[in-house]
Amino acid sequence: MQRGDESETASIEGLAGALAAHRPELLRFLTARTGDGALAEDLMQEMWLRVREGRPVSIGNPRAYLYRMAQNLVLDRLKEERRRMARDLQWSSSRTDEHGADLDRSDPEKQMIEDERVARFTAAIAALPPATGRAFRLNKIDGLGQAEVAASMGISRSGVEKHIARAMVHLRRSLAGED
């Protein structure tokens, strides 16, 4: 990383300290996010392990970083759960859900599911209203940060947030509609 970023870098001790300091609120967040107190405790434990074993540099805001870490752990669990559900459903249904990239399947079948998923996302994104679609594509497909999307479209940051949020609702609707 560049020199300039090192001033805001949290050292590993700093991150562990931040985790200790924010433990109660993080646990509360994990509980609310999962709806499962025991699972929240498990994930909290996993965060300790990650913070202890990890060696990240360039952490601007340790609290936000820890929340994002918690958020990602929940998402990982969720994806795992959906994958398992998709596997179980495999025998009773010829279709997979839109998240069911079931990697245990045969290659051609995997490819087919992947192609279908790509086609559905592509169609859903292409059908977005123009400005919403543009903001969404610049952010999610081209990988621009929200601030850069705002600058390139000449709109405010919160305008970008609104476009992207609206796009995600459209997407959910159109993916669900095809089921």
Partner: protein, 333 residues
């Protein structure tokens, strides 16, 4: 069924969450207020993750007008050889994208709407696949590429200097004043200034190492371009949103060409993901294992040999279930 209002609120929280000024207390309160909020958020987060997983495919399907964007980036690069350390650089580029690019994007959408049910006309000028074993490619301008098994490299239509990589490749690019080569991988662009380097991208990570010369790495995720010279590298972990520097012995850059993967203090999650590109099955790390660091070299020998070696070197327990390999802590004894 999740209500429209809940979905919109969930999407707003989701959109804000990458930002350092996200109101996490407010988000927690919102989640606690109604169990349906969680359900709505799950749906939005899963959609976003699913899109991220197949982003390259969607990008290719959507991009009929990528040529102009690629050419613009190239012009901009030649004009700014010394990479001013402000954000203005990338900003200017993308402001352009807001002009002509928008028209190209709009045209692409219009074309797609008019021919429903057909695949949009998206093919890059050329796509190279190394489906079985590494492959050597010589690009029209003389750059030589070794593409690792299981990887793909596309050349943008009409612009042979913009390449899109999935997987791993080693680049040997003679220096020329009249062009720069840009390798796109995820939301990173590696701009080469006449050099030898390796890029390995997986769904959640990007690793760049330089054997000779310099490359410049650019991304919306970096405040300014990173310049890497011989013996240096960088590792980006998407999930953790962390970018860290790497050290590398120049001789080990592109080592996959001799059937070897060499790592120095790289998280197992990354090693497993990179290794996964060479094998048919899937490598799954049990919680906690992915953060451990691996230093050493793995031979890409027969089937599953590398992952077995990795397990042994890291004292992990290996379990095979069909074509899934699970690695968990506390093996050996």
């Amino acid at each position: 069924m999740v209500s429209e209002d809940h979905l919109l609120a969930a999407a707003r929280w989701h959109v804000r969450s990458p930002s350092d000024d996200m109101d996490w207390d407010g988000f927690t309160n919102w989640l606690e207020a109604d169990a349906r909020h969680r359900e709505a958020f799950d749906a939005v987060a899963l959609d976003d993750a699913a899109l991220a997983d197949c982003r390259a495919g969607v990008a290719a399907a959507l991009e009929g007008g990528s040529v102009d964007i690629a050419r613009s980036s190239n012009d901009e690069v030649t004009a700014n050889d010394d990479w001013p350390a402000t954000g203005a650089n990338s900003l200017r580029w993308w402001r352009w994208a807001g002009g002509a690019g928008a028209a190209a994007i709009a045209a692409g959408i219009a074309a797609m709407i008019m021919v429903p049910g057909e695949q949009p006309a998206s093919p890059p000028a050329k796509q190279y696949l190394a489906s079985d074993g590494a492959r050597r490619i010589v690009l029209p301008d003389g750059a030589r590429v070794a593409l690792a098994s299981g990887s793909s490299l596309s050349v943008a239509a009409g612009d042979a200097t913009t390449l899109t990589l999935k997987g791993a490749a080693y680049f040997d690019v003679p220096h020329r004043t009249d062009r720069t080569l840009t390798v796109r991988a995820g939301d990173f662009r590696i701009v080469d200034l006449g050099t030898r380097f390796e890029v390995t991208s997986t769904a959640n990570s990007l690793r760049v190492t330089v054997a000779e010369g310099n490359v410049s790495v650019r991304s919306p995720r970096l405040t300014k371009p990173m310049r890497l010279s011989a013996g240096q590298g960088m590792l980006a972990l998407d999930r953790e949103n962390v970018i860290e520097p790497l050290k590398v012995a120049p001789a080990n850059v592109g080592s996959f060409r001799r059937g070897q993967l060499v790592y120095d203090n790289v998280p197992l999650a990354v090693v497993a993901a990179e290794l996964g590109q060479y094998t048919d099955g899937r490598i799954v790390l049990e919680p906690g294992v992915g953060q451990r660091r691996f230093s050493g070299s793995l031979a890409l020998g027969g089937r599953g040999e590398a992952v077995a070696n990795l397990a042994r070197l890291m004292d992990l327990q290996l379990r095979r279930e069909g074509d899934v390999v699970r690695l968990s802590a506390g093996g050996g004894d």
